[in-house]
């Protein structure tokens, strides 16, 4: 599903964010990405979603090489990937419902079918009663769940989560991890970056540990 071969990422100015990265994530697998902040976790996730391109090496996502992907092919790639951001990236000019609706509008779904899907996604993350609320009125944990609802409404085959439990207390983190676990059970490929050791103990899975851009055994 996701395959890294000797991937380097160098930023202008010489900073090397990723060094000689090689690993594979199988279809339906759930994998943690651990390491201190600045270890290159976010950069790695950005490469998979073609937000950044590798300096050398190849990143294959569902058989497509991100290094040489055409600009016009990127939207289609991203529709297959659910992105969950640490800072949520919700839009405050519309309701929670409309935030989750956005990916379906982008894909050109039928309106009635979309509304059903949006409600199903909101129900999944426990926000169905808050569909009319503006995201700004939601708590941190609720915002994170809304971000998850937006990422899954499109039924992507890959979910990338960047520090999804980053600034939440353990009770909220547990709830969110349970949501992820249920996606894992229906065959979604999951890549979750975290520096929270307790989550790894509670929900064990394979972990890739990054240190200064390099993969640790």
């Amino acid at each position: 599903m996701i395959q890294f071969n000797q991937v380097y990422k160098r930023y202008p100015g010489g900073h090397e964010a990723l060094k000689n990265l090689s690993f594979e994530v199988a279809e339906g697998e759930m994998v943690y990405l651990t390491g201190h902040s600045g270890a290159g976790k976010s950069t790695l996730l950005k490469l998979i979603a073609a937000i950044e391109r590798p300096t050398s090496g190849s990143v294959l996502v569902k058989g497509q090489n991100i290094r040489s992907i055409k600009l016009g092919a990127i939207p289609q790639l991203r529709r297959n990937i659910g992105l969950i951001f640490q800072d949520h990236k919700l839009l405050f000019d519309r309701s929670a419902f409309d935030n989750v609706m956005l990916p379906l509008q982008i894909c050109g779904f039928d309106h009635r079918e979309s509304a059903k899907r949006v409600r199903a996604a909101l129900d999944k993350v426990g926000l169905l009663e808050r569909e009319k609320a503006n995201p700004i009125a939601l708590s941190g944990g609720e915002q994170q769940r809304l971000c998850i609802a937006r990422a899954i409404v499109n039924r992507p085959t890959i979910l990338l989560a960047d520090e999804p439990t980053g600034n939440l207390d353990s009770e909220y983190s547990g709830a969110i991890m349970n949501i992820f676990k249920s996606f894992h059970q229906v065959g979604v490929t999951l890549l979750i970056s975290t520096h929270d050791e307790s989550i790894l103990r509670q929900f064990p899975a394979r972990a890739l540990h990054l240190k200064q851009g390099e993969l640790q055994a």
């Binding site: 979603a49 937000i51 016009g72 939207p75 289609q76 790639l77 991203r78 529709r79 992105l83 990236k89 839009l91 000019d93 956005l102 990916p103 509008q105 982008i106 894909c107 050109g108 779904f109 039928d110 309106h111 937006r150 990422a151 499109n154």
Partner: protein, 302 residues
């Protein structure tokens, strides 16, 4: 197909909502575009009215040929046949000196003066209606006729045509320059409006790109906005011109009555009206498109 249509309808509705969300800004923008467009459109309307007035007054151009006095009836007939056979002449009209005198008596209100004349001072004349109507061809024909025998005087009112055409050309050029400049202004206004919108909707654009929006999807609402704003500006211009014409014609009626003329300013034809609306919508779209292509690529998610 159905989905594409509903998507376009959704964007159109969102665009109208966006316009209504900031009514003052919308009103000002539309008014500026409307006023800018109404100036060349008004000029065009005036020009068209003057042109048709001129056509009414001058009719089709004609050449008057006055025969030398003492030309015999048989010679007059021979000349008439020769004129008829000329390739550049459509038809001729003979006005005998007696008929000319009668006409003068009737029309000019000089009947007393004319009645006191002891003899008819007018010559026999042919009115020549040429096929061509442009000044150069008319002058060539006049110069040719001048060389014919028994023609005392050949008169063509080309000076008047020249002057009128020069004035109309000047007017057309002025309107064209005005239209070009103000069209550019319209594009610039839209460009700037859309630029501000893109800046305020930066986050939305960024998020949309992250969840797989194509450039066309992101561009669409801005293009619709430019198009709609341009169209509303065009409608405003149309209303401004119509209102002004109504007002002017009302006043003009009193004026022309004094001159016993039925001259009035012509309104925009249906075709002209649609051209105006289409053009203003297109300019709005163009400004938006230009703005989007300038600014959108700068917003890439990081």
């Amino acid at each position: 197909m159905m989905n594409t249509l509903t998507e376009h309808l959704r964007v159109l509705r969102a665009t109208l909502q966006r316009l209504l969300l900031t009514p003052n800004a919308t009103l000002l923008n539309v008014a500026i575009i409307g006023i800018a467009l109404s100036l060349p459109v008004g000029g065009y309307v005036l020009l068209k009215s003057v042109q048709s007035l001129a056509a009414q007054v001058t009719g089709t151009p004609q050449i008057s040929v006055f025969l030398a006095s003492g030309t015999s009836a048989s010679e007059i007939e021979r000349i008439g046949d020769k004129l008829k056979q000329h390739a550049a002449i459509e038809r001729t009209e003979f006005i005998s000196r007696d008929a000319a005198l009668k006409k003068l008596q009737q029309s000019s209100g000089l009947s007393d003066v004319v009645g006191n004349l002891s003899q008819n001072p007018l010559p026999d004349a042919y009115i020549v209606h040429p096929r061509a109507s442009d000044a150069a061809a008319l002058e060539a024909l006049r110069d040719e006729l001048k060389t014919w025998q028994r023609f005392e005087h050949v008169q063509l009112d080309s000076a008047w045509i020249h002057k009128l055409e020069a004035v109309l050309d000047f007017g057309r050029l002025a309107v064209a320059i005005l239209a070009a400049l103000l069209s550019f202004a319209l594009i610039a206004i839209t460009f700037n409006t859309i630029r501000l919108q893109i800046l305020t909707r930066r986050e939305e654009i960024e998020v949309s790109k992250l969840i797989g929006a194509t450039d066309a999807f992101i561009r669409r609402p801005f293009l619709y906005f430019g198009l709609t704003q341009g169209l509303l500006g065009g409608i405003t211009a149309w209303l401004l011109v119509s209102g002004s014409l109504l007002l002017l014609n009302h006043n003009l009626a009193e004026l022309t009555q004094l001159y016993a003329s039925d001259f009035s300013l012509q309104h925009l034809s249906l075709a002209d009206s649609f051209t105006l609306l289409g053009f203003s919508a297109y300019l709005g779209w163009l400004g938006a498109w230009y703005s989007v292509s300038q600014h959108l690529w700068q917003i890439e998610p990081r």
